[in-house]
Amino acid sequence: MGVKPLSPLDLSLAATLVLLLGILSWRMRLGLEKRLAISALRTTVQLLFIGQVLRVLFSNASFLFVFAISMVMLTVAGREVVVRQHRKIRGFQGWMLGTGSMFISSFAVAFFALAVIIGNDPWYTPQYAIPLLGMLLGNTMNGISLSMDRMTEALWQQRQVVEQRLLLGQTSREAIQEIRQQAMRSGMIPIINAMAAAGLVSLPGMMTGQILGGSSPMDAVKYQILIMFLICAGTGFGVMTAITLTSRKLFDDRDRLRLEVLEK
C-alpha cells in the first residue's frame, strides 16, 4: 500500500490556512505576515527543489553525488549556526568551529548507522543516507547553535566573575565550569525532552511519515527509536566538541579571557 498522492489542489487548500493566519496577523497588527509569507514560500520552493534533486539522486546512486549533496547540507547548516549566534566568533574560524563540530558528530554517527547498523549495499544508498543525515544535521545544528550562543553570551555577561576567578588562580577550565555545564545542558535539553515525550505527547515526524507511507507501526517505531538514539548521540558529541573548541578559542594559552575574538 503506497501513499495516497496529493494534488496541487490539496496543497492549495492547506495553503489557505496559512493565508488565513496571515490575514488575521495583519488585522491584529502582529507584524508576522511578511515573515510568514516568506517562510511559507521558502518551504514550498526548497522542498520542491530537493524533491527533484532526490528523484535524480535515487535513480543513480553514485557515492560522489551523495557526498556532494551532504556537503551542501553541511555548509548551509554551518551558516545557519553562525547566523543564530548573538555574539559570534569572528570570521572564518567561527564558521569552521560550528561546522567542524557538526561534521565530526553528524557524519560519524550517520556513517556508523548506515554502515554498521542498517548495512545496506552500498552503505551510502541515498534513500537511507540523505534523510538520515538530514535529520542528524538538523538536530545537531539546533543543539550546537543553542549551546554556543549560551556559552558566548554567558562569558560576555559574566566576564568580570570569570576574570575574578582567574585572578584567584583558577584555570580557565575551572573558571567557566558552570558556564560550560549550562551551555551543554541548553544544547542537549531539546533532544532529551523529545526522547522523554516521544509517543506519549507527540508522534515523531519520521515515524508518522513511515506509517503514512504504509510501513507497519512496529517497523516505524523501531526506526524511530534508532533515530532518537542517533540524534541524541550526534547532538551530544557535537555540543561537547563545539563547547570545547569555543572555550579554547575564547582563552589563550596563558588562561586569559580573550573576548575580542567575538564580534560586536
Binding site: 566573575v161 575574578q164 588562580g169 583558577q170 589563550d252 596563558r254 588562561d255 586569559r256
Partner: protein
C-alpha cells in the same frame, strides 16, 4: 628573595615600563583616571597580553603556568566579584582562616555562612582581601583596595595588608587616588599621566 621585577613591560600602546619592588616594600601609584593604572596591574598579573618579562624572586612569569603566577602575584580588583551563594564557598578552606585576621577586619567565623546577596560593597571588599590572602601570594597588586570603605575600615585594611607584606616579605604595588593614603602606606610613589608615562612623585620616603 621575593623581589618583583618588571622589565620592559609593554601592553596595548603603553610602556615600556621597568620597575622593581623589593620584599616588604610598598610602591604607591597615583594618576589620572583612564591613564592605564588598572591595565598596568592586569598586565603584571598576566591577565592581559603583554611584552617584556616579569619575575618574582626565582619565578619567571613566562616559565610557570599562568594560574600559578596569578596565585603568586595577586591582583585585588577595585570591585570584587562573587559567584557562589555563601561567603565560605569562595574560599579553599574557610575554617583555616585565623580568628585574628577575621576579627581584624571586623568579622567572625559566622561570616562564612552569610549570603553573598546580603553583603554590602564594603563587606565584600574586606572579604575579598581575606580571600586573596588565603592563596598566600608572594606579591600584591592592589587596585584602589579601600575605595569602597569607610574611614575606620580603611585603616584596618591598610594595617592588615602592610602586616602581611612584612610577615611574608611581600612587595606591594598600591594604586590609590588618595595622596594621603599613599603617604601612609607607600615607601615611594609614582605618578602616571594621561599618556601612561610614569614619573617619580616628590616627597619620597613617605614612611
Amino acid at each position: 628573595m621575593s623581589r618583583l621585577e618588571i622589565d620592559n613591560l609593554t601592553f596595548r600602546d603603553h610602556g615600556p615600563y621597568s620597575l622593581e619592588i623589593v620584599g616588604r616594600e610598598c610602591l604607591g601609584l597615583q594618576g589620572a583616571s583612564g591613564s592605564g593604572k588598572t591595565l598596568l596591574l592586569r598586565a603584571i598579573a598576566d591577565l592581559d597580553p603583554h611584552g617584556g618579562s616579569l619575575r618574582l624572586g626565582d619565578m619567571l612569569c613566562a616559565e610557570v603556568p599562568a594560574p600559578l603566577w596569578r596565585k603568586s602575584v595577586a591582583l585585588l580588583p577595585a570591585e570584587s566579584s562573587w559567584w557562589q551563594d555563601t561567603v565560605e564557598e569562595h574560599f579553599h578552606d574557610f575554617s583555616s582562616l585565623t580568628a585574628g585576621s577575621l576579627k581584624q577586619l571586623g568579622f567572625d567565623f559566622e561570616v562564612g555562612d552569610w549570603q553573598i546577596s546580603r553583603l554590602s560593597t564594603g563587606e565584600k571588599q574586606r572579604l575579598a582581601v581575606l580571600r586573596l590572602l588565603e592563596n598566600r601570594p608572594g606579591a600584591l597588586l592592589l587596585d584602589e583596595p579601600t575605595a569602597s570603605l569607610d574611614v575606620a575600615n580603611i585603616e584596618k585594611v591598610e594595617q592588615l595588608l602592610l602586616e602581611y607584606s612584612r610577615e611574608q616579605n611581600a612587595p606591594l604595588l598600591w594604586v590609590s587616588h588618595d595622596p594621603e593614603q599613599l603617604a601612609r602606606v607607600a615607601d615611594r610613589s609614582l605618578f602616571m599621566d594621561e599618556n601612561g608615562k610614569l614619573t617619580i612623585l616628590g616627597g619620597e620616603d613617605g614612611g
